[in-house]
Every structure is written in C-alpha cells, then in structure tokens.
C-alpha cells in the first residue's frame, strides 16, 4: 500500500453524521456515539513539545488519548496532569512519549468537553469497508471535530472515497493547528529563545533594548509555573532569561551610559539573587539518583539524610519565591522595568549607542572569539583550574553574543560553528558542575557539624565518598577540554569566524 493507511480530517464545528459520500458510491457511513459529553484537558509541557511535534494529548476521566504525528490514536488508562512521562502508568501512550523532555511535566494547555464515537463505512452487503473514529472537542471559544479513518486490507477504493468525502466536507482545514486555533485561540506558544528582530543597520542601542525587552517577557512567562511548582525548568528558564539580560548589560559596553549600566546591573542582580538557592537545590535533587549510584550501598543511609534535608529546604525556598512572585510589589517592579525598555526615552545611552548593530556584533563576537582562543591555547596540564573556569565564562559569553545576533548572519554557518562550541561548553559545564557540587557538599557538611566540628558519621562518610568521586570526575572532564577545544579550533571553523566577523579594521 503506497499511501498512508490512516487519514485524519479536522473540521470546525460538530461532527455532522450526514457526510455526503460521493454520489456514485454505494457506501453508507455510520457513526456511533460511544462516550457522551465528558470533561477533557489537553496536556503538554510549557514548551508545547507535543504540539510542536504534531501530537495531541487528551486526558478525560481516567483515560489518556494521544494522537500521533502518523495520525494514529493510541490510548491507555491513567491521568497525566502534573506528571513527568516516566511517572505515567505503563501503556502505549507512555511508550509513544519516550522522546518527551524528561525534565518537563505535563501541564494544562486548555480544557473543555469531549465526545467520542466510532465510524464505519458499509457496502451494500453491510460489510465494513472503512473503519474509523471521531472526537468532538468543545471549549469556551469554539468546537472542532476530528475524524480518523483507517484503510482496511483490500478496500482501497472505499478508503479513498470516504477520505475524499470527509476532506471535501472539512474544506481547507488541516492538521492540529486547526484544533488549537478553534479551541484555544488565545493560548500563546511559549519560546524560551525567541528570534529577536532588528536590522543590520539599526543602532546598537535598539538591538540591546529589544533583546532585554524580549527576555524580560520570557522570564515573566515562567513565573506561574514556578508558583504552581510544575517542574524545575520554569525557574531555570526564568534565570537563563535574566542572565541573558545581564550579559547584554555587561557585554554591550558603552551602549548604555555608565551610570545606567550600573543601575540596571544592580536591578537584575537583585532579581536573580532570591532564585539562586532554589535552583541549586533543584539541581542537587535532580541528581539524587545519580548520586546514589555513585557511592556503594553502605553509604546510602547518609545520602538519604542529606537529600531529606535538601527536600525540606527546597520546599521552604519554593514557598518563599512563590510568595515573592505573587506579591504586588514584585509585579509592580517588573511592569515598571518592562515599561522602561518599551520607551527608550526613559533610558540613558552611552557613546556606542549609535553604532550599527551588524558592525557592533562583528566586533563584539570577534573580540570574544579571540579571547576564547588565546585562553584555550594556553591551557595545559599544569594550568590552574581557575583558567578552565574562566574559559567556560568566555565560551558562554561568546555563545550568548552569537545567539543575540544570530538573525544577522548566515544560519548554516552558525550551525557549523555552534556544534563544536556546544560540545566544548558541555564539557566545561560538566567540569564546573563537579566543582560546584564539591563545594556545596563541603559547605553542607560544615553546616551540619556541631560547634566542636563533629559530623554525624553516616553523613560524613557519604559526603566524603561523593566528594572523592566528583573530584575524579572533574579531573576527567578537565582532561577532555584540550581535545574538545582542538575540535572547535579546526581550520574550517577558524576560517568561518574570519569570514563572518573579522572586519578590516581589526
């Protein structure tokens, strides 16, 4: 069978049982309602990973139904709201969601009322020649019907007839976007890294304001998820957005006046600081399983104690931050900040404000690239760890700069550069994580010790064991840095950097 064996037709409105089949066909279409009106919710993560990959996940009652990109429905018992995919009960829906982001939980995109039923096209012998099902979804905004039909072996012509009839009845409505458009027209698509629009000749000041404005908005879109404590990625995205703003402030030298830069830096650093501890605790808790795997079972008791304490402290921190996010004063100050970047007359600019964005981008990226190379080439086994940490920071700044200005450059060339850069960054990130975690474990042990410096034996042993292993890992990561940099420092990539960013004056 050459064509698809399934077809999905989406049409606005209720499912009309009087589908007019092609005049010359002797088929009759029968629809049978199986499930009367029941509430449903559409589930997805904050990034709408399912929607973006052409899937639709419906929870109604104790049932999960997933429409897959190949237009085939699978369903299983269970509820999904607030769960991670690996927390779903075993079943075909869970199996189909194997590629879903592991750190993201399912949350509600919208809700309404659902009706489901079966479809069958019968020939004159009352033999079923096409099988199918339909789903009618209603929300406050509208309703939409999904009919899916399935080709039965040996009945290709009937399948084509029914498919043609359904499609002509549906008109030009195709795919899942019709479903979202009809039911939830006001649900926005969240993007953690939206494309920022400005032209090559626009002044650097406008590029900077645009970037900052964009990321303030992205940060704000994550507040509700932090308050509801859906998954750890909300806070992570919130912090990354603010970090991007801060890097604009520190990298775009001379775009804002010195005084304005200092003032803004203070404001954004004040926004970041109440989130730090919660993020640290999230990271530790996400690592829980891997920590347990690192040390022998004899040391598990101490680890258990440590994670219990982290858990308690995390609950406290989460409550605190959630209270902050809900407060009127926080909302007020965020609105104020956003308004300031909406209206550039309220900002004080510096001597570089009027440089063209493209030229400015080239010089910033080129300079940062040179710094990365200079530092990386100096690293050998004797170099102190500090240099490796510094390299990580430079790489990160380089990456941010490239991302901010990506739309001004050739996308393919950027992809070629980013790939080895990302590999190097992952390596440096792992190196840094090991180091940060050792410090944190040590601090934890100190905090747990009595005034005379005594620590609970179990705890001390576990923490000691972990630190030893993390230190080994850190060294192993460090050893990989040189080769990963060499990969990034290939003649091809060097050439690309020169072509893209080096300007005659440099």
């Amino acid at each position: 069978m050459s064509d698809a064996d399934n077809d999905l037709v989406v049409f606005p409105g209720a499912f009309d049982l009087d589908v007019a089949l092609q005049a010359d066909s002797n088929l009759t279409l029968q629809a049978e309602l199986h499930q009367q009106k029941k509430p449903f919710v559409i589930l997805d993560d904050h990034d709408q990973s399912l929607r973006n990959s052409g899937c639709l996940l419906i929870e109604s009652g104790n049932r999960l139904q997933l429409l897959q990109p190949d237009q085939v429905w699978v369903s299983q018992a269970g509820k999904g709201y607030g769960k991670f995919v690996n927390e779903l009960p075993d079943g075909p829906v869970r199996d189909s969601l194997a590629g879903f982001p592991p750190l993201r939980a399912l949350t509600e995109i919208g809700r309404g009322i659902i009706e489901t039923g079966s479809l069958a096209a019968l020939d004159e012998l009352q033999k079923t020649v096409v099988r199918g099902s339909f789903v009618v979804l209603r929300s406050d905004a509208g309703q939409v019907s999904l009919a899916s039909i399935q080709r039965l072996r040996g009945y290709d012509r009937a399948f084509e007839t029914v498919k043609g009839s359904l499609r002509s009845m549906a008109g030009p409505h195709h795919g899942l976007e019709t479903v979202f458009g009809a039911l939830f027209p006001n649900v926005e698509q969240y993007q953690a890294k939206p494309t920022i629009h400005f032209g090559k000749l626009e002044p650097a000041s406008e590029a900077a304001t645009e970037i900052i404005r964009t990321f303030i908005a992205v940060a704000r879109k994550n507040e509700a998820g932090v308050i509801a404590d859906i998954d750890t990625e909300f806070l992570h995205d919130y912090r990354v957005s603010l970090r991007r703003v801060r890097s604009v402030l520190s990298l775009f030298k001379g775009v804002f006046s010195d005084q304005e830069t200092a003032e803004l830096k203070r404001i954004f650093s004040d926004l970041m600081s109440p989130t730090g501890r919660l993020r640290d605790l999230d990271v530790y808790l996400l690592e829980r399983e891997s920590y347990f795997k690192l040390v022998p079972p004899s040391l598990h008791a101490g680890l258990g104690k440590m994670f219990d304490q982290f858990e308690t402290e995390r609950a406290r921190e989460q409550k605190k931050l959630s209270r902050r996010f809900r407060s009127a004063s926080y909302d007020q100050s965020m609105k104020e900040l956003a308004a300031q970047f909406d209206d550039p007359t309220r900002l004080e600019f510096g001597q570089n404000a009027d440089l063209g964005a493209y030229k400015y981008a080239c010089s910033l990226i080129w300079k940062r690239y040179r710094k990365v190379c200079k530092l990386a080439r100096s690293i050998d086994p004797e170099t102190p760890d500090e240099a490796v940490h510094e390299l990580r920071i430079h790489c990160k700044k380089l990456r941010y700069l490239m991302e901010f200005f990506a739309q001004l450059f050739d996308a393919k060339a950027f992809k070629t550069i980013i790939k080895p850069l990302k590999r190097l960054q992952d390596n440096l990130g792992a190196f840094n994580d090991c180091s940060v975690q050792q410090d944190a474990l040590l601090a934890f042990a100190v905090q747990q010790s009595s005034s005379s410096g005594q620590v609970d034996a179990n705890l001390g042993l576990s923490v000691g064991g972990l630190i030893a292993i993390l230190n080994q890992r850190q060294q192993a990561e460090r050893e990989r840095v040189v080769s990963n940099f060499q990969h990034f420092d290939s003649p091809d990539i060097r050439e690309l950097f020169r072509i893209l960013f080096q300007t005659p004056g440099d």
């Binding site: 020939d123 039965l152 072996r153 009945y155």
Partner: protein
C-alpha cells in the same frame, strides 16, 4: 505458521460452517488468520460478506505478487482476513507451496503488509479431488466433518484408505462428528462404532445439529457473534481448543 484444511470427500457436511467459525475462534484467540475460500461459489466469503474478487488470469497472477496480496480482504473482525474465491486449482497449488516457503517472495510481500499469518484456514470445495493429495501434504492438520450416518462411514473409510495407500501421515486427520442429533438412534450408534474403529482419528468434541448454525446464512457472520451463549457457539469454541492443543503439542 500452520495450515488447517477443512476437507471432506463428501459434500454438504459442514466444511464451510466449520472453516468460518474456526477461523473466527483463532482470530479471537489473538492469532492472525487468513481464511482461504477455495470454493468457486464463494461460500465462506459469503458468510463474511466479502464479495468474490474478479477472476485473475492465471499467468499474471503469480508473476505479480502484488496482485495476489491485493486480493486479500480484511473481514469485519480483528485479526481475520479473507482470500475470496478466485483461484484455479493450479494457482492454489503454487500458492500453498509458496506459503510454505519462508523465503518466497510471496511470504515477504505478505509480511511487509502486515499479513504475517499465524494460521491459514482452507475451506475446501466439494469434489476437490484433483488437488487433494497436495492439500494433504501441505496442511498441518486436516479437519474432517463427518455426519454420523452409514453413508458417511463409508466415505471416511475411503479417506483413511487413501492415506494408507499413499503412505500419508494419518496423524494429520482430525475428524469430528458434524450435525449430530442425539435423539437419532442411528447417530448415536454410528458415533459409538466409528469411535471404536478410529479411536485416534476423532476428536472428542462434536458439533450438534443446530438452528443457530443454519442461521449463519441469515446473519452472514460467525455463530458466536449473534448467538454468543448458544450450544453451537460453545461447541465451535471447544473444537478450536482441542485442535489448538493438538497443533501446539506437535511443536
């Protein structure tokens, strides 16, 4: 893959009724089943509402595997497909040997369209003499309905005689009493006598004479789908179980 042939050297004994209900029972048990209607009248196709497909010219039929796979039809029941009557005996002979050969293009083609059948049920037409011997060789099991009457006794003797003569494995023969009427003295006596004479050839399950089975022509569906708790429905289910046990133990 197993091939089950419903065969009798006598007409009107219940071969088609058995093929359809057995094939359905296999499918219900989760096996993927292809029911081949070998009767040019399209008897089992009729019961499953599958129209006989257009006669395909012999020569091109097996040149083009696709044309063969295309003539298979899904039934209204899960796991049960039907090959409507359309083959000449010679075609059918080729078909059987290719189905037996795991590496044949036909098998591969079927596999690629999800037709990796666990069981093939053959509804043999009456007077199916030309190919009988090939069927006996190809099938794993030959299910023989026997109406307990004097005439049937004689035809069954002939069948067993044929197996002896041609040194065919008699173990394949799994007969059962069909259209049994307990009230008829002749039936009861014939059953007792034949069970004694052919102790190993007869299955213990019998299919009673039943109005529910006659009604298959009306409903055009397997018995249990419209008379789920009927004696006849239960009897076919038992027959399936007994057959399956035999097939499983052979492996």
């Amino acid at each position: 893959m197993k091939i089950i042939a419903c065969y009798s050297n006598k007409g009107g004994v219940g071969k088609t009724a058995t093929s359809v209900n057995l094939a359905y029972a296999c499918a219900q048990a989760g096996m993927r089943v292809l029911l081949c209607d070998l009767d040019p009248q399209g008897a089992s196709g009729f019961y499953l509402r599958v129209k006989p497909s257009k006669k395909l010219t012999e020569a091109r039929f097996f040149e083009d595997v696709k044309r063969f796979t295309k003539s298979i039809r899904a039934s209204d029941f899960k796991n049960l497909d039907v090959l409507p009557a359309n083959m000449t005996y010679r075609d059918f002979d080729v078909f059987l040997s290719r189905m037996r050969n795991k590496r044949s293009r036909l098998k591969k083609a079927l596999k690629s369209v999800g037709g990796d059948y666990d069981v093939i049920v053959l509804d043999c037409p009456p007077n199916f003499s030309t190919l009988s011997e090939n069927i006996f060789k190809a099938a794993d099991t030959i299910v023989v309905p026997v109406i307990p009457s004097t005439l049937s006794e004689r035809t069954f003797d002939q069948l067993v005689g044929f197996f002896d003569e041609h040194k065919l494995p008699k173990k394949k023969l799994r007969a059962f009493f069909s259209m049994v009427q307990r009230r008829k003295k002749l039936h009861v006596e014939t059953i007792a006598a034949m069970r004694k004479q052919y102790r190993k050839r007869f299955m213990s399950t019998s299919i009673p004479f039943s109005a529910d089975i006659e009604r298959m022509g009306l409903y055009r569906a397997p018995v249990v789908t419209y008379a789920s708790r009927s004696v006849a429905g239960l009897a076919y289910r038992e027959l399936f179980k007994e057959l399956k046990k035999g097939l499983d133990s052979k492996r």
